[in-house]
């Protein structure tokens, strides 16, 4: 009795427990040995298929990521800035001798005077703050909300609106 196709396939796939029996049969049966050889040739043919080359680089979407453009000022603005800087420098050079002449004429207040002025300013500010009263927020009788709750609600609405404006572009 000859080997079945399944037995030959499983033998070549190394997926059989009857290996010894199959080999014993093959050694004495030319017909089955020839069938095995034909099947083996088919395996070789299938597996010898050469690899084909790609016509495009599949890595490109991952490696050729466009770099972010560096923000640059318009040319006219750059030129204007340079021109302004140059004019300012020339003016400084021209004005420098006059400024040096004027400096001694200016009466500079002494350091203790400056401190005493600052101290008096600070005291007057403290006086104003001590007498300052925050105007009471009118209560809304219909909603029976306290002024604190009203302020919190207002801040929450503003916060939500602010976030909405910030996320507007991302939601598009």
């Amino acid at each position: 009795m000859h080997l079945t196709d399944n037995q030959l396939n499983e033998y070549l796939d190394e997926a059989t427990n009857e290996r010894a029996q199959i080999e014993s049969h093959l050694s004495s049966c030319d017909e089955c040995a020839a069938r095995l050889s034909t099947l083996q040739s088919l395996f070789v043919e299938i597996e010898s298929l050469p690899e084909q080359a790609l016509t495009r680089n599949l890595a490109a979407p991952f490696t050729l990521r466009p770099s972010l453009p560096v923000p640059q000022l318009p040319t006219f603005l750059t030129l204007t800035v340079i021109l302004q800087a140059a004019i300012a420098l020339i003016v400084l050079i021209i004005a420098a001798p006059f400024v040096i002449q004027l400096i001694p004429a200016i009466e500079m207040p002494s350091l203790p005077n400056i401190f005493s002025q600052l101290q008096s300013q600070w005291t007057s500010w403290l006086d104003i703050l001590s007498t300052f009263q925050v105007p009471s927020i009118p209560e809304i009788p219909i909603l029976e909300m306290s002024s604190l709750a009203f302020v919190l609600a207002g801040v929450s609405v503003l916060w939500i609106l602010g976030n909405g404006l910030l996320l507007r572009n991302q939601m598009k």
Binding site: D5, N6, N9, E10, D13, A15, T38, L39, L42, F43, E45, I46, E47, L49, P50, E51, Q52, A53, L54, T55, R56, N57, L58, A59, A60, P61, F62, T63, R65
Partner: protein
């Protein structure tokens, strides 16, 4: 300096370095494309699905088991994509006319090999989609019957019967008298 291992590249890709994943693609793109080309037998589609396989892999890079080998895994992803594609199409694959446009200019021996390769590709392409995928997994990805059954979620008996029938059909086509 040694080239980074696949594992290193995967870890870099997980940190958001797309170029590291690009290096992985460069390493495996030819083998992944050939998986698709053997199954689909159409160059454009094969390249598109190979690209799709890499995009899916990139999306799943954070859940990829780092202990597994990337090459066999991505080839399996590609094979499954092709199978799904064929099942959704359910059309006979047409011969890619452009693939051997220059074969007439090749030396005789090379031309013979090229023609035989083309016959094998055509024979593979003529198989039903579920046979084709099993031939791919067994002969080119060297998976065992059990692995194929697990991969395709089909009984072991189906794996064997589809594979043996596929081989019989291939033998008939390839060894048929001209």
């Amino acid at each position: 300096m040694n080239a980074p291992s696949d594992r290193d590249l995967i870890l870099q890709a997980r940190r958001g370095e797309a170029e590291a994943f690009g290096e992985l693609v460069t390493r495996y793109q030819t083998s992944v494309f050939n998986v698709c080309y053997r199954i689909l037998h159409e160059r454009g589609e094969a390249e598109d699905l190979a690209q799709e396989a890499f995009i899916r892999a990139y999306d799943r890079i954070h859940i990829f088991d780092i202990e597994r080998e990337f090459g066999p895994w991505i080839r399996r992803v590609a094979a499954n994509l092709c199978l799904n594609h064929l099942e959704s199409q359910k059309v006979t694959t047409e011969i890619d006319d452009e693939r051997d446009a220059d074969s007439a200019q090749l030396p005789e021996a090379v031309q013979e090999v090229s023609e035989r390769s083309e016959q094998i590709r055509s024979a593979l392409a003529s198989l039903p989609a579920n046979y084709r995928i099993i031939v791919e997994l067994r002969h080119y990805q060297e998976m065992s019957y059990d692995e194929i059954a697990n991969e395709l979620n089909i009984p072991l008996s189906d794996v064997k019967s589809h594979l043996f029938r596929a081989r019989k059909l291939l033998a008939e086509k390839l060894h048929a008298p001209d």
